[in-house]
Symmetry: C5
Subunit: 367 residues, 5 copies
């Protein structure tokens, strides 16, 4: 069963589903697991004065508001397997076909891309802890398109509405989120994704604690496999989070007109958080490496102690067995055999030999 787990890891996460070579570039191909439910598109419109929130029924409703008033439109798309829908949405917003390809390519690494047409594209991973023993992290493909007065968000999973806290805050009061445009909204959503990394970290930390206990208490039959499974999860997490750092850094430094100046400090804060996540992952990785060494050194100490036991037993009993063997010989002429106290002398000799050997091993600190 453990083999299967190990294989599943590779199979589930690392493999890239190959596109048909005949497909022309720019063709949308969804390569994630098959999904039965229908994509859900929610349209939220808000400004300081109010919020509207409705499930979209026809594509026409998806366009940004164009009635002069300053209104932010947030289109939250749950599900990226209906490539036809994504494609139409892209045409509605005049998005580049390659951008749409990245929205549905669940294997794509986190990245940020600026488009000349006046929008930017962000894709990154939401992390979920699939199972806890052995711990397994599964990434969810999340993408954003930020325009001047709209934000499109795409989530791979249908059932788990991760952005609802922001929606709640939007509807609750005319707070900071409603006072700002889509750039602050993007920050709020990214903040949720990154805060979620801390939750995953906590569970990785718990798993690490458990494994740590086992390294020490079950030194004998503990297998490095568990430690390496943990290490692999940490590596996966690091690989998926690391590019987010560059992404946010680029967002801050770039002379782009997408982020207003008073929003920048919030993104800088986000950057600090990502750095903290990466830092913690790195310290976990170091701990795993130390545990591997501690485990190997424990194994080695044990082996040493087993060998010493064997050596002491052999070294004590071999001479004794030899001695009794001598007097088991059947020679006609063995004077000692006929001495009155020969038998007891032999016991004496054996006692002396035993004590001498034990003292010798004590002097060598083997006992």
């Amino acid at each position: 069963m453990e083999q299967n787990e190990l294989k599943t890891h590779v199979g589930k996460r690392k493999r890239y589903k190959r596109k048909n070579l005949l497909t022309s570039p720019g063709t949308l191909t969804y390569i994630g697991p098959e999904v039965e439910m229908k994509t859900k598109v929610r349209r939220i419109r808000y400004n300081e004065n109010g919020v509207s929130n409705e499930l979209v029924k026809s594509l026409k409703e998806c366009l940004p508001a164009q009635n002069g008033e300053k209104v932010t439109t947030w289109l939250d798309v749950d599900g990226i397997h209906e490539t036809g829908l994504i494609e139409k949405l892209g045409q509605l917003y005049h998005l580049h076909p390659l951008l749409l390809e990245d929205v549905v390519n669940t294997e794509h690494k986190p990245k940020l891309e600026f488009y000349d047409a006046g929008y930017l594209f962000i894709t990154l991973k939401m992390l979920h802890v699939e199972s806890s023993s052995p711990i397994c992290i599964s990434p969810e493909h999340v993408s954003f398109v930020l325009g001047t007065d709209y934000l499109l968000s795409f989530q791979e999973e249908l059932t788990n509405d991760i952005f609802s806290p922001v929606l709640t805050r939007l509807e609750a009061s005319a707070g900071k989120t409603r006072r700002h445009g889509p750039d602050y909204l993007l920050f709020a959503l990214l903040d949720i994704v990154i805060d979620n990394y801390f939750i995953v970290l906590e569970q990785l930390g718990d798993a690490l604690d458990k494994t740590e206990d086992e390294v020490i208490s079950r030194a004998d039959d503990f297998s490095l496999k568990d430690l390496y499974a943990l290490k692999r999860e940490l590596t996966v997490a690091r690989r998926l989070i690391w590019p987010v750092r560059d992404m946010i850094n680029q967002l801050i430094r770039e002379d782009n007109t997408m982020l207003s100046k008073d929003i920048i400090p919030y993104y800088r804060d986000l950057y600090d958080h990502v750095m903290q996540v990466i830092d913690t992952i790195d310290s976990y990785r170091e701990l795993v490496a130390s545990l591997v060494d501690v485990h190997l050194s424990t194994i080695s100490n044990r082996m040493n102690s087993v060998m010493k036991t064997l050596t002491i037993f052999s070294a004590v009993f071999m001479p004794l067995t030899f001695i009794v063997g001598v007097y088991g010989m059947n020679f006609d002429n063995m004077p000692e055999l006929h001495s009155r106290y020969g038998y007891f002398y032999v016991w004496g000799v054996m006692a002396v030999v035993t004590v001498a050997l034990i003292l010798y091993f004590k002097s060598k600190k083997w006992m």
Copy 2:
């Protein structure tokens, strides 16, 4: 046989066939395996209005179209061992002799070079999986020369026409490929080479899976050699693919007039794909490293368990053998021998000793 494989690897891939030191630089020297078939040159001409596709019979047919109309000429050369032909072709297109030297030098690393005369040169490797057990990747030397209205492509192998899907697409309809010039054609061909890396990755992943199973199920007689063979293939693949990344990056950033602006996003997409390939290779390499450690730790655990078995057997039977040895002595005066139940007492003593030792080992968790 395994030795031979190992040697073959070095022999086949790493060795550089030395040029004659007396050869003046710029002399074309084909250093790949000997080939008997004749080079095949195919000339494709297309624009939005139509496509022509014919096997070239004389060198004169190879020149780009010069009848005013905007036509893209694609010259697909299969086979690079006829250096004379390559040389003449080079003169026809006024190519630098050192460029031609790189076209036929199958050991050359992937690189991109801009020439002042208004063309650019790209060479990279198509990867093929030669054999699957043990897996062995063999690179094919592929080169491109991109001019303003022509594209030359050179393939090392004659039998395997890797670019046929693009040809099929070209002939099928007046799609994207025919609407654009040779820069888009170059992209389409590079896309095929890079998509092919994913197929190779998949087979490497299968081989990794298989080896992984063996590390765990056949821990005892598993040899690291298999893992290192796999690691070497990964290293080779990485070494051949890594420069492709720089190459494409340079193509995008360079202020060159060879790529039209609306083609750039396609090359950026290509860059992302190469990064993904490298990323996967790196994660495979980490997995191999982990498997090495898991294997060594398994070996060490086994050794420990063997040693414990030996120690327990020795520690139990040595005292018993000593005891029975004692009563095998032939002393005249050994009172116990004549006691009525002496024999049975000795059995009792031995049972006690055995139980005590077993409890002792249990307390040490050796059993």
Copy 3:
């Protein structure tokens, strides 16, 4: 108990207390250990002519002096758990809410941030040695806000007034500190924090010495765990001190108007000191790595010596036991048994065998 220590380390230092996901960004959340005492705010005002020093009772007293005269105001805040107080103080000085969030976030890494409003923010860690066996370093979160005529300092801990030497110097005489503005004061306080690193280093050095002795004198039952605990402390220290280096470097190079030109050499000196701390930590880390190797090699040498003892005992006594076994057989027809000196001959043979084996092992340098 050792397990608990190990776990405590992770638990106490590495874990990040997760914010409530519903909390809107910019909300101050104190995540350090719970504190019962009240925050203490001390206001010091000084210039060349005099010093005033009083515990603040109401927030109004906290404002910088505004009576024309050039006076530096130093507000020393002991305790950062009363987020309400910190928030009000921030409003008084018009500080950015995200800055305040970092003041109370005890998990934040050292950093420097310039704010457009004309102040800069520094946060770093004061290091304390919590316990000495096993050594455990605990960081204290310390922050500074430097304005043109004021300096705010925030300390996490209430009981340990680390800045008192500067206060003493300020009150003692109209020395360098009083002649300069808040930029020199900031230097003086940073100098104390960094000098303190040397004290921590000294204790780490002592712990290293002790462990070093144990590696050599108690090679047998020494466990790598102690070395790794030490290594972890060094890693923690390095991680917390390393960003301080960048921070000070940035302070020096930046074209900021916060530091007057004649103060810069003092900061450059600070930079040298931090470099020296990092250097020493690195050399300690190398020493730990060497000790691990020395330990493993010692273990291995011991194992070798145990094995040799076992082999010599077995190789000497096995043949002897065989020989005496031969003459313990009960065959009717065994001529040697009846020879007059058979028994003594056998002793002779055994002596020869023993001497031969001993010479053999001596020739192999096993004895």
Copy 4:
């Protein structure tokens, strides 16, 4: 003998012969091995119209041609131990004394230096394979001074005229070399040095092959020393070749007037070759590292198999020996001894014990 080799390596290559501390800087000191033969200076003059080639007898003949016509003078100096001669030559060409110091300092690393007076200085290493088993690379110190109409080349060794192929080409026909100036000549000579690296690589590859065979076929008594000797040669080669890469790169990029524009592609080609050499060395180094691991894992597997054999023998024969010991006891009252088939029953019991143990070890996959 192997010890001596190892020492010789250090002694011969790594040691720097110390200059007398009282020597003022700029004093020429030859520190290579002592040489008895006289320095040989050959003067070649050529342009498109003709070539002259003569051994120089007096220093006056060494000056460049100054009769108006465009003629390239190549002065090939074989032997650098006659520092007086080198010094006079330097004065003749107005070379900086420190440049001359580097010409004779056989320990100097490859470097390129531009001098304001309008010449550039290059020093690098020709590599020779001294002995092949164990392989030992010995570097030859080679230097060039490139002026506008002359090239000086200095070789450490007298007997081995490595540049003769160029001379042959020069004299054979008015080819590329004669059409260009001294910058192309420098290229041609550097090309010979670098082509020679491939020959050395080939021999290193052969040595690697041989060692690889031994790792696998003679696993038992194979010593890591051979692998490390090979690794050291690779390291030496890498250290001497690596700076050549930077050197050529600098030659290409520098805005210097020494190289004419149409020569640059040739130097770029040289750069590619050096990269290929370094790449191959790196792949050899990785292979050596893998072989070390394979060797250690083989050793470990063998040990395991030895231990299992020992354990099986002990575990089978210890109980049997105990059983026969029991019935060797001399108690008066041992009922079994007098049973008619007791002896045969005992054989039966021992057969059962043996079979049981063998099945047990089979179930553990030890047999």
Copy 5:
């Protein structure tokens, strides 16, 4: 005793003597070993026309010459423990107090600092070999202040006048040194310090040779401790020399008016020398790493050979002992015992068993 050495290393070199935290920054604190002798100040004045050289008796004599004529003043200060004297000298030359702090801080790393007032400060380490077995390098703190017409040099040690060769050269003739200003003098002094590194290297090389011999000839009782002691010295040397490289590089590149243009090539030569020192140290470090691996592999091979011996002895004698045990049993009915040649048959059986086992082990290449 070995323990003490190890501790002494850490104690003597790595520990930083903590300053009193109450000390205000810029206070001179000498932290080196206590010295009883008095500081010696020597004043040398020279130009092309002549040299004066005298021990200074009062501070007034220390000022640079101010009688119009161009004269270079070199003030050579032996001993830096009299901080009062250093302080007064600093005031005389208007040096920054923090510079003086670095002059007396014997723990300070090599560095170069430019001061706006028109002088530059250099501090670096002279290396001495304290003891040769085990080798121990001890650094001497050396500093220079270079002004337009003066050079101050400070040496930690009083007894060892390392700069005397330069003094000798100055007084001997009106050579290069006297023709140039203090910038060339600085070069000459730095050259002595760096030439001295080669002497230290030579001794490290000798120690490495000796250890290398021991690794191979005394494999059994060789301890890694010696190798690690050597490695530590190499690390210390590297750490102290590495910044010198940056320092000289900075001196060359900086657009500073302190070095005249024709002196620069001399400093570039110095740079090459430092690089050579670092290179040699790196190659020594690699050699140490290889020796560690060779040692561990030797140990492992030995263990293997010990185990094989044990296994062969056990496997041969256990069956034999069992056989003779069988015929030592006392059953009434044991037909073989009464056969006439039973005893000799048994010997035959045992011979066959022995030969069979020996052939088996030979087939496994254990013998």
